[in-house]
Symmetry: C2
C-alpha cells in the first residue's frame, strides 16, 4: 500500500491526526530499561499505536548511539504489530544523483520506512531519486518551526511579496509532486503560515512539528491546516509523550498523553 | 588542531588543493576485494594521501550497505596513518536543537570527522550545535553543482539582484561565521558563481565538487576560486580517482590520477 493510502486509512481508523515522534534519549529513560533504546521505543509504540496516524523515528538519536540495528528492529516491529500505521523516517536528507540513490536505499530498503523527510535546498533533481520508490512518501521541509527558520525561508523572492517557503510550496504542489507522493513540513509555531501553505498546496498532507501535550497551539494549528475533510495533517508530538512518565509506568503515561493530545486535536477538526 | 589549521597545513605540505572523495560503490570494486568497503577505501587513501589536502567520505554509501562500522574504521585509519590530512564527513545534515546535537555527536564524537557538510535551509540556529565543537569545521551548502540547484539557490531576493546563494554566502561570512569554523560548498559547474562567492566571503575555504580527472573546468575553477595566497580551495574528485583502475592495480591507478589532478590544479594557482 502507498504511504498516502496508509496515512488516509490511519486518519480514519484511529480517528487521529497525531504523529508520535520517536526521539529516544537514553539519559531520560526510566532506570529499569538500562538504556535499551529498542525496548523503550517499542513499548511507547505499542502503548500509543491506536491513537496515532503515524510514527516518526528521528534517525539522529539512533546514529549518535551506534543504534542503527535497533532502528531497523523498531521499524520492523511497527510493521509487524501495527501494520496500519505508517513510519516516517525523519532524516532531512538532501543530495543528488547517485548519492541520493544511496540515501533512498538506506531509508526505504534498509530501514523499510514508508516515508522520509527531505530538504529542498538542492532542488528538484535531488527529490527525484526518492520519488522513484512509487509507494513511498517524500515529505519536504517548507517552513520550519525554529527561530532561524526565518533566515532563508522568510526571504521575499523577486519584487512581489512571495516568501521562499511559499515558493517551495508552489514548486512542490505544481512541479515536483507529479506522482502524488509529496507532503510538506510546516512548523506549528506559525499558524498563519500553515494556512498560507494549505491554500497553496490543496489537500497535500502537512507534517506539523512544534506542538506539545499542553495544546497551546493545537486549536490554531488544526484550524489553519485541516482540509475540507477535516484531515490532511500529521501533528507531531515527541518529548511530551515519550517522557510523560519517569518510572516503570512510562508507557501508560505516554498512552494517556497521546490520547489526550489526539482528543485535543479532534476537538477542532 | 583545528580543521582550518589542518587544512592550511595540508595545502602547504602536500602542495595540493585536491580533496579525494570516498564514495565507495561495491559494484564497481575490483573483483579480488569481494566488496570489502574498508579495504577499498583504505588502499585508495594510502595511495593518494600525499597528494590530497582532505579526504571526504560520503556517509550515504556506507549507510546504504550497513557499513557504519567500516566508516568508523576508515576515519580512524586516516587519522592514524595520515594525521596531517583532515577528514570531511559529507553528510549534508540539517536540523535543530537537540536533534542537531545528536547529529553533531554522530559526526564528531562517533566518527571523529574534522569537518562536516551542513544544509543551511533551516537557518542559523541549525548551525550552532555544530559550531559548539570549536576545533571542527562546518561546511555549508551554498551553490550546488546539479541542474536543480538553480530551483531555489538562483531565486532573486527582494527587488535587487541578489540571488539566494549570494545571500547564504553573505549570512555565513557576516553573521554565522563568528568563530572562524565555516566554509562553503560551491559547485565547479558555475565558475562565475565561484568568483562571486569568493568576492563575498573573503578567504573562507570553498569545497568545490563537480570536477573530474579530465580537467575541463579546472582552469576556470581555480582562477575563480583561489585566494590571493593561491589557496582557499578543496577541489573534490571522487569517481575519477576511485575507479581509475578496474583491476588489482586500482590503487596505483588512483594514485596516478590523483597526482595528475593535483598538478593540473596547481598549474593555475
Amino acid at each position: 500500500m502507498t504511504f498516502t493510502g496508509m496515512l488516509a486509512s490511519a486518519w480514519v481508523k484511529n480517528h487521529s491526526l497525531l504523529c508520535v515522534g520517536l526521539d529516544p534519549d537514553p539519559a531520560r529513560f526510566p532506570a529499569h530499561l538500562q538504556g535499551d533504546i529498542f525496548r523503550f521505543c517499542a513499548e511507547i509504540v505499542d502503548a500509543t499505536a491506536d491513537f496515532a496516524c503515524a510514527f516518526k523515528p528521528q534517525i539522529a538519536y539512533f546514529a549518535a548511539h551506534r543504534a542503527e540495528d535497533q532502528l531497523e528492529a523498531l521499524i520492523a516491529h511497527i510493521h509487524a504489530k501495527h501494520p496500519g500505521v505508517p513510519v516516517i523516517l525523519d532524516a532531512k536528507r538532501g543530495d543528488i544523483g547517485s548519492t541520493a540513490e544511496q540515501y533512498a536505499i538506506e531509508a526505504f530498503e534498509r530501514y523499510r520506512a514508508d516515508a522520509v523527510t527531505v530538504n529542498p535546498y538542492m532542488g528538484r533533481d535531488s527529490v527525484e531519486p526518492w520519488l522513484a520508490y512509487q509507494d513511498k512518501g517524500v515529505i519536504l521541509l517548507c517552513r520550519t518551526s525554529n527561530p532561524g527558520g526565518s533566515d532563508l525561508q522568510f526571504q521575499k523572492i523577486g519584487a512581489g511579496g512571495t516568501a521562499l517557503y511559499e515558493l517551495v510550496a508552489e514548486k512542490i504542489a505544481r512541479e515536483w509532486n507529479t506522482t502524488g507522493q509529496c507532503a510538506l513540513v510546516v512548523g506549528a509555531t506559525f499558524p498563519g503560515e500553515i494556512a498560507r501553505v494549505r491554500q497553496i498546496v490543496g489537500d497535500l498532507p502537512l507534517l506539523v512539528p512544534g506542538i506539545g501535550a499542553q495544546g497551546g497551539d493545537i486549536e490554531a494549528t488544526v484550524k489553519a491546516g485541516k482540509t475540507a475533510a477535516g484531515t490532511g495533517l500529521m501533528i507531531n508530538s515527541s518529548r511530551a509523550i515519550l517522557y510523560a512518565g519517569k518510572g516503570e509506568d512510562y508507557a501508560s503515561a505516554a498512552r494517556r498523553v497521546a490520547q489526550d493530545t489526539r482528543d485535543a486535536i479532534n476537538r477542532w477538526r
